[in-house]
């Protein structure tokens, strides 16, 4: 009982982080099971496991909303940021520990609202995008969508205030901006984006609730409103949100690659200032690529085609940094490294298949097909999840003080990796041939039935692989061998604490040598 109370009322950044981890993995598990339902539903043409298209739409709403708002953003900016940032910069905690606790409570409230989808009589069926007019006329409960977004968004704003302050003012003496871990930079950049853009999303979803329940007409053209306003507001946030996910997950991959290649990060300043900086500057000017077929003015569609294509510059620099970090390394292939390399591979495919989608005229055919769904699972959904799983494996010994099972870890990786490519490659293929997304039934595309069946089998492989990983963690946390303080031989600061790190992290604030650097391997 006391232990439970200690955890619920904790203000220790590591415990807050672990609470974020548990909540977001729960969201992932439920949203993942729902993904299996979605895939199984498509095994045959016509109804397979439910007769009611509405059920399918509710599943898809939950899958999209929970995976993004309940899993990826919180696990990256909640768990990883909380657990790692203070340890990496040599701080005893974050700047505002109580605000931190409040943020995790808000997050849990949001998760509970999201899960209510499965018990309420009129669950939201507006998909994760919530476009009006449908979201304002549906008999589903759009307010639950709005409040889920608001709670989790507010949690994230609190996180932003906290982490920007922490990184700016609580670095241990000697840790200058140019000696920050790449991951710390990625969190800094991600929270800058959150602070700028979350309020826009908040206003968008609030306005649909006003329209639906209070009779305002912001999006009703018969009374002076405009339906496109919502889409502009929504994507003004939700495109940068992709980078709120991308930046931290690629930050984790940098940490893992540097450690398992025992190598310096290739061209650190190019990655941080050119790559991350470029992304922060450009990402707010490209949202119209989600509206290429929405009837926007031609000039802005063509203009944002150019800005969207230019995003390949900073992103390309980030990828060059990743590959370059392998150059002349001393590479080993434990489970976290496999996941990190898997991320690199998936992201490469996802990033490159995004280029046709940047070209407005090609998107006239591709928009809202399975090509898009395949592409964004590659680039963000599964690439991000691979990085997250790799990161959890990487910090597992530090967090729990025990080791996981290496064989089971690798087995889980390969099963998921194969399943992922089967599912999402097939998806892009039938998408180019015309399969639209968000379809309960595909009766007028019978030629795709076999592809759908292959994807269902592939999805079950993905599920099995992820389940093996989660089993491996639970088993390792309870029964694993004792782990040393620095099992991977990393030079980075977070590995210099005891395992698991005590409250307050260090007895004294650590002092770093003049020539210290988190990636100071080899001959330097």
């Amino acid at each position: 009982m006391n232990v439970l109370k200690e955890w619920i009322f904790t203000t220790d950044h590591k415990r807050v982080g672990i609470l974020y981890l548990i909540g977001s993995l729960a969201a992932f598990a439920v949203a993942g099971i729902v993904a299996m339902l979605i895939r199984i539903e498509h095994t045959t043409i016509g109804p397979t496991i439910t007769n009611n298209p509405h059920d399918y739409n509710v599943w898809l709403y939950f899958h999209g909303a929970a995976m993004i708002l309940g899993f990826q953003i919180p696990v990256l900016t909640g768990y990883f940021a909380n657990y790692c940032v203070p340890l990496m910069i040599g701080a005893k905690d974050v700047a505002f520990p109580r605000l931190n606790a409040l943020s995790v409570w808000l997050f849990y409230a949001g998760i509970v609202l999201a899960l209510a989808t499965f018990v309420m009589p009129d669950p939201p069926d507006v998909l994760w995008t919530g476009y009006p007019p449908y979201s304002t006329i549906t008999s589903g409960n759009t307010a639950f969508y709005t409040f889920t977004v608001l709670l989790i968004g507010f949690a994230s704003i609190l996180g932003g205030v906290n982490f920007l302050t922490t990184i700016a003012f609580m670095r241990a003496p000697g840790i200058t901006w140019n000696k920050l871990n790449v991951f710390v930079w990625s969190i800094f950049a991600a929270f800058v984006l959150q602070l700028i853009f979350v309020p826009v999303l908040g206003s968008a979803v609030t306005l649909i609730t006003f329209d639906k329940y209070l009779g305002t007409t912001f999006f009703d053209p018969t009374k002076g409103g405009d339906v496109l306003t919502y889409q502009n507001l929504f994507w003004f946030y939700s495109h940068p949100a992709v980078y709120v996910i991308f930046l931290p997950f690629i930050g984790i991959v940098y940490e893992i690659l540097a450690t398992f290649a025992k190598n310096r990060v290739f061209n650190y300043k190019m990655v941080v200032y050119g790559g991350f900086g470029g992304i922060v500057l450009l990402t707010g000017e490209v949202w119209v690529h989600h509206l290429y077929v929405s009837g926007m003015a031609d000039w802005i569609r063509v203009g944002q085609m150019v800005t969207t294509l230019l995003i390949s510059v900073p992103v390309g620099l980030v990828v060059i940094g990743l590959v370059g970090t392998l150059y002349k390394g001393a590479i080993t292939f434990q489970t976290p490294m496999l996941y990190a390399l898997g991320t690199l591979f998936l992201f490469l495919i996802g990033g490159l298949t995004g280029i046709p989608l940047a070209v407005a005229s090609l998107t006239i055919h591709l928009s809202d097909t399975y090509y898009v769904v395949g592409h964004f699972h590659y680039v963000m959904a599964v690439a991000g999840t691979f990085a997250i799983f790799g990161g959890i494996y990487y910090y597992f010994p530090k967090m729990t003080g025990r080791m996981y099972n290496e064989t089971v870890g690798k087995l889980g990786f390969w099963i998921t990796f194969i399943g992922t490519n089967v599912v999402f490659w097939t998806m892009m293929d039938i998408g180019v041939k015309g399969m639209p997304r968000r379809y309960f039934d595909y009766a007028h595309f019978p030629q795709f039935e076999f592809a759908h069946q292959i994807m269902t089998v592939g999805a079950l492989f993905i599920g099995l692989g992820f389940a093996l990983a989660i089993f491996n963690w639970i088993h390792g946390a309870l029964k694993g061998e004792k782990a040393p303080d620095n099992p991977w031989g990393s030079k980075s600061l977070e590995w210099t604490t005891a395992t698991p790190p005590p409250s307050g992290n260090w007895k004294e604030i650590p002092k770093v040598a003049e020539d210290w650097h988190p990636y100071a391997y080899g001959n330097r």
């Binding site: 298209p53 509405h54 739409n57 069926d125 998909l127 476009y131 007019p133 449908y134 006329i137 053209p221 409103g225 405009d226 339906v227 496109l228 190598n263 310096r264 290739f266 061209n267 050119g274 077929v293 009837g295 031609d298 085609m305 150019v306 294509l309 510059v313 390309g316 990828v319 060059i320 590959v323 370059g324 970090t325 392998l326 002349k328 001393a330 590479i331 080993t332 591979f345 490469l348 495919i349 490159l352 280029i355 046709p356 005229s361 090609l362 006239i364 055919h365 928009s367 809202d368 097909t369 015309g434 639209p436 997304r437 968000r438 379809y439 309960f440 039934d441 595909y442 007028h444 080899g522």
Partner: protein, 241 residues
């Protein structure tokens, strides 16, 4: 010898010139530049482009992974520290390569875009109102049709679209074209049906519970057959009134 050489050059140049001219004439003769064909061409180009980039990155990464495996425990990486010139070079040069590729793609994409947006003057213009869950077409002479869009082969078809409830998207995969229809705005799209045949129309914007059942078809008819149908329908509509 020298004269011979010069003659060959002149003949060669003339041949090239004539064939280029022929190509231009051929294009002009085909009065309508069909965006669907342009789409297939640009898609192929872009796929080649990204495949090359992808293979390049993958090959380098695979090489490093094999070449730089750790040989003995305790070994650490030995990447040299980059000199300032190298560091800047490694940022600027790739950046310019990417920017060049971006502008190349943007240029081609823009050209095709204009093609999609500039409707040939010789066209048939049809009004479309979408609703949960049907496509309702009105022809210039007042003929109406639901979920079946009959058009003559060999003439550009322009749809002016709006919606009476939620947002829908009129998607004809075979013609590589779609555009949303929504209340309060009129959007448009056009396509060029070459030969008689049938093509699926499907909804590509989530519009409600029966979204995946919002299907129709484009029926492309030989010119004469279409005129006969069109007149007959017009008479039928007139009678009904």
């Amino acid at each position: 010898m020298r004269v011979n050489c010069r003659v060959r050059v002149i003949v060669g140049a003339a041949a090239i010139g004539i064939s280029m001219l022929a190509a231009v004439v051929a294009q002009a003769a085909e009065a309508v530049r069909d965006p669907a064909r342009g789409w297939d061409r640009l898609w192929f180009e872009v796929i080649v482009d990204i495949t090359i980039l992808g293979l390049l990155f993958a090959a380098v990464a695979a090489y490093f992974l094999i070449r730089y495996r750790r040989r003995d425990p305790g070994q650490e990486g030995s990447a040299p520290r980059l000199s300032p010139a190298m560091a800047v070079g490694w940022a600027i040069i790739p950046a310019f390569v990417f920017i060049a590729d971006d502008f190349f793609l943007a240029g081609n994409g823009w050209q095709l875009w204009n093609n999609y947006r500039e409707v040939p003057a010789n066209r048939i213009e049809i009004q479309l109102e979408s609703g949960m869950y049907s496509w309702d077409y009105t022809y210039p002479n007042g003929v109406r049709a639901q979920n079946e869009l009959r058009v003559p082969a060999g003439k550009a078809v322009l749809l002016r679209m709006t919606s009476r409830d939620t947002i829908h998207s009129h998607f004809i995969p075979d013609f590589r074209v779609k555009e949303d229809s929504m209340p309060g705005r009129v959007t448009y799209m056009w396509f060029y049906p070459r030969q008689p045949g049938e093509h699926v129309v499907t909804c590509a914007e989530y519009c409600g519970i029966m979204h995946s059942y919002m299907v129709g078809k484009v029926i492309v008819m030989p010119e004469a057959e279409f005129s006969a149908w069109y007149e007959q329908e017009a008479a039928r509509f007139a009678q009904a009134k």
